[in-house]
């Protein structure tokens, strides 16, 4: 019960952060990005572990009751695969969006929104894979009797994503400035 309240608080804080200021919530929904991140990510995880094992691993991750140890270990590995495939699908989606943006540089006012849509795939992946799945992976790993020092859901993958996003962002800001300079000249 307490975990559902915590999840609700976390998600509603994210939604508040999204709708804070003069920005509409619907600007953060993009069907193509949802398709790439979730459908591709889930399908490739299904391909590796099978449809039902992935779903039962998700159920085990959300359920507060303890199942047997060997099941927990298998579920942790399955969710780790799901986490990896969703992150990888987000990278693919970001690159696709970037290529689409770069092939349409003639109109500088459309660069910003196109880049925003490209960033949405990373946002979805960070929220689902790193905020929801990674803590679950850690919990299942620990339930299975795994050591805390080899927990697969740890590490600063979020920090790495921030660093890559900053680098990608600086590059694209320069591109935007160059495009604006071309426009004014």
């Amino acid at each position: 019960m307490a975990q559902w309240i915590a999840l609700l608080v976390g998600v509603s804080c994210l939604v508040m952060g999204i709708s804070y200021g003069h920005s509409s919530f619907f600007a953060f929904i993009d069907v193509a990005s949802v398709l790439i991140v979730f459908v591709t990510g889930f399908c490739l995880a299904f391909a590796a572990h099978g449809f039902l094992p992935v779903l039962s691993a998700l159920v085990a991750g959300f359920s507060p009751t303890k199942v047997t140890d060997e099941d927990s270990g298998r579920d942790a590995l399955t969710l780790q695969t799901l986490r990896n495939t969703i992150c990888a699908a987000a990278v693919v989606g970001y690159i696709i969006g970037l290529v689409q943006m770069l092939s349409n540089m003639s109109e500088p006012t459309r660069i910003g929104p196109a880049l925003a849509v490209a960033l949405l795939t990373s946002l979805y992946a960070v929220i689902f894979a790193e905020l929801i799945l990674a803590p679950m992976v850690n919990r299942l790993h620990f339930r299975a009797g795994g050591s805390a020092w080899t927990a697969p859901g740890s590490g600063a993958r979020g920090a790495v994503i921030v660093l890559l996003a900053i680098l990608a962002h600086i590059g694209s800001m320069m591109l935007i400035l160059v495009a604006m300079g071309i426009q004014t000249n």
Partner: protein
């Protein structure tokens, strides 16, 4: 006691560097603080429970070594806290960037909007990597004395 002095000294050096560079007010943004702290803690609590999270933080801050039979439980809770704080910083940064990119019509607002977006990443790095991550290493040293002889594995970064 001494660790509080060092934490205070380290954090005040950050604040001092901010103050030397100009206004400190631009480095404080309440929505960003909420974004990192509430989201990061909420998703860790969802996985490990309120009681375990605060017990783990207390164990991480404690200076004297006690009977740490729960050191592994505390360590994995702090690992989760660390990775979810980082992820909350990443999510806040991406949200700020998307907002900024959708309001590109006014070029003078681009810089400040991006500065605010960067603040979530700053808060996440300070909390997760400067405060929580050393705690994890310390818990590891306490829990098994062999860790001191394996310096390469002592870093919590092995699974990054």
């Amino acid at each position: 006691m001494s660790q509080w002095v060092f934490i205070a000294l380290g954090l005040s050096c950050i604040v001092g560097a901010v103050a030397l560079g100009g206004s400190t007010a631009i480095f404080f943004d309440l929505p960003s603080v909420f974004m990192v702290v509430v989201v990061g803690f909420a998703f860790s609590i969802a996985a490990h429970g309120v009681g375990h999270l605060f017990a783990a933080l207390a164990a991480g801050f404690r200076s004297v070594a006690q009977d740490d039979e729960d050191a592994e439980l505390y360590a994995i809770t702090l690992q989760t806290l660390r990775s979810s704080l980082c992820a909350a910083g990443a999510a806040g940064f991406l949200i700020g960037l998307v907002k900024m990119l959708q309001n590109m019509s006014d070029p003078s607002s681009i810089g400040p909007a991006m500065a605010v977006a960067c603040l979530t990443a700053l808060y996440a790095v300070v909390l997760a990597e400067l405060i929580v991550s050393p705690m994890i290493s310390r818990l590891r040293l306490r829990s098994d004395s062999d860790a001191a002889s394996q310096p390469l594995e002592a870093s919590p970064d092995v699974n990054a």
